[in-house]
Symmetry: C3
């Protein structure tokens, strides 16, 4: 094969690859990754393995936690079994998913830890531990959480420069209470912008749009794990919370587009 | 098309791509990224959007910050308007740029936060907020900062293994004072090496070269946001500060090259 | 060259590239990277440069640390010379390597700092400083450490979703004591899982398998530098420590495979 021909093919290949790249979501999630992981797997030779989901999320259970580990983890003595939800990409989606899981099962959220992750992206990963007296409850909680993730990733919009994330629930439960101090049973929303500058603007927009109360305002070195995000959480009347989120989303997407970005959701928006 | 031909083309393509890859800057900045972002954009339908610059930097303004957010951000009551400079890659370049911006405008730096970022690189991103009584001052500050960035990225040398960064000003102002405690009006320099080991050596070289005073010495878990950097800031006679930086740069580049790396600047060195 | 032909070639190229990609180790170490770096280099015009090794590790020495820097670094006055080991990827491998180095040389570990790094991966990088009265001792310590790294990376298993890491020594020395409080002269092991969820399960398995004592249990925001890891360190009878590690490794690899991953070691397993 002559060199000139290879040269021309190479030119073409590079041109095509770069064009396609621009249209694809980069962090926090690549499309192929989503396809691979969106399906919750539940077959494995390992009794502790429950399944996986989007965002490199893995769900595990331990029927009878080792006594030494139990102590190191600071677990309440009444709980023998734990469910573990961990992910490389995403804190909000997993927190919302586990919130639904503890509503639906006889389990309790015992620890929430948010590493600095997203595989080179600007945000958090997650490590959430639920406890139950019975392993079947712990397993059920993990199963419910994994199934919710496809939905809760719906308003995570990724692009090369960063990401925008929105979460909404009409009724916050114990996971959101543990993580943010969300008032139980009330409407609750999460608004995340990365780079953090966009999050400041979205927070301002959300609070101007509707009469909602700020629960937390997290910035890179105050409340976040050094992520390049501003995270606003709000509560109030369900219509107001939803409206605040929708306005923030609108302004966030506009800024991203003005930056020359094309933020897209990996799954299906739900808010 | 026969399989053997595809095989040969693939071989060629891979060979070329990998050869080219080696010569390109990787983190903290890809070349195409620089080209795309170096031009400050200022057209957008959004009144809050000022523009973008190198390093995924975005500049925004809020004319009249929401009262609830105002409080959460800990802003002084006299300021109604803020300017926001945020970036995925770079702390030093943005800090220097904002330092020039506050010199040139009637604005004040209110918060500096440095996330752990650079998109998989070893360093910081940034979130810097300036405040002004009038939105036109806030906007002007952001504009000046965005325009300075092309210059202040001049001595940021990236490669696959890490990066080296150098900043110099003959007269430090309020942003550098806020971020590092730089003495106002005096010559000031920043020396950054990543991985951190190189930063230790550059710090030693800088201090041996010229009679300068250490303002801060930051390492991954002491002063930095868990970045893999050593950050030395120095003050003193302007000639001495500049000389210390130049010597550090020389030794840093030598070590990088000895590691088999080819660190290059994304824009044009200015020191 | 007609467009249709390019289209077909492109299809083929993409198909091949994605197939090959799946089989390759991604973070924490790419194969080519390993090949390039595994050889310790020791030629350079720079007296301070000792060499490089796997994980973007660099080894440097300073014969006579600048007095101002000496103070900022909090070094004991009796030490004039330091050796610096820094890396983008890996904390455990470097800590074990330096542990061997201080056993073999007349040097002392003075600081251990673990940045959040691994170039977009889920773990730590490292900055370890050893001190000696004589530069030849500092240099020797760095040389020994660099040579050990190929071995100590043996049980680091990387894949796209995360990594597993295992370290074992029959006799812990001053570096492991400094970093984790390892009892001197006793068998010691490190078990790391990322994403952190896997680390919890491995810790449980390790502690159930053999009668060992927990030295530390680190999670993303308690003991780690916001990495997405759980890090368990154990001590006890050498056979028990080794057995605990082997069982943890087995369960960790099983979970990774159940996640659809193929974790592989960059060098040669040694435990």
């Amino acid at each position: 094969m002559d060199n000139q021909m290879v040269e021309r093919i190479l030119e073409e290949v590079k041109k095509r690859l770069s064009t396609q790249g621009a249209a694809e979501v980069q962090p926090p999630l690549k499309k192929e990754e989503v396809k691979k992981e969106a399906v919750v797997m539940s077959v494995s030779g390992l009794t502790e393995f429950v399944g996986t989901a989007i965002g490199d999320t893995v769900g595990l259970v331990i029927a009878n936690v080792d006594r030494g580990l139990h102590e190191k983890m600071g677990l309440d003595k009444k709980y023998r079994s734990i469910g573990i939800i961990g992910a490389r990409t995403g804190a909000g989606p997993q927190l919302m998913a586990v919130d639904e899981a503890v509503k639906a099962t006889n389990s309790e959220v015992v620890t929430v830890e948010l590493p600095r992750d997203t595989k080179g992206g600007a945000g958090h990963g997650s490590l959430i531990i639920v406890a139950a007296e019975d392993v079947s409850d712990a397993r059920r909680a993990v199963e419910v959480a994994l199934k919710e993730l496809d939905r809760t990733f719906g308003d995570v919009y990724g692009c090369d420069a960063g990401h925008l994330e929105f979460q909404y629930t009409a009724r916050a439960s114990y996971c959101l209470n543990k993580a943010f101090g969300a008032p139980l049973g009330k409407a609750f929303g999460i608004i995340v912008g990365a780079p953090a500058a966009i999050g400041v603007l979205m927070a301002d927009t959300a609070l101007k749009t509707a009469s909602v109360d700020v629960v937390t305002y997290g910035s890179p070195t105050h409340g976040n794990s050094y992520t390049n995000e501003v995270v606003l959480t709000i509560t109030g009347d369900s219509g107001a919370v939803r409206q605040a989120i929708i306005s923030a989303r609108e302004v966030g997407l506009k800024v991203m587009r003005a930056m020359g970005q094309n933020p897209v959701s990996s799954t299906k928006p739900y808010i």
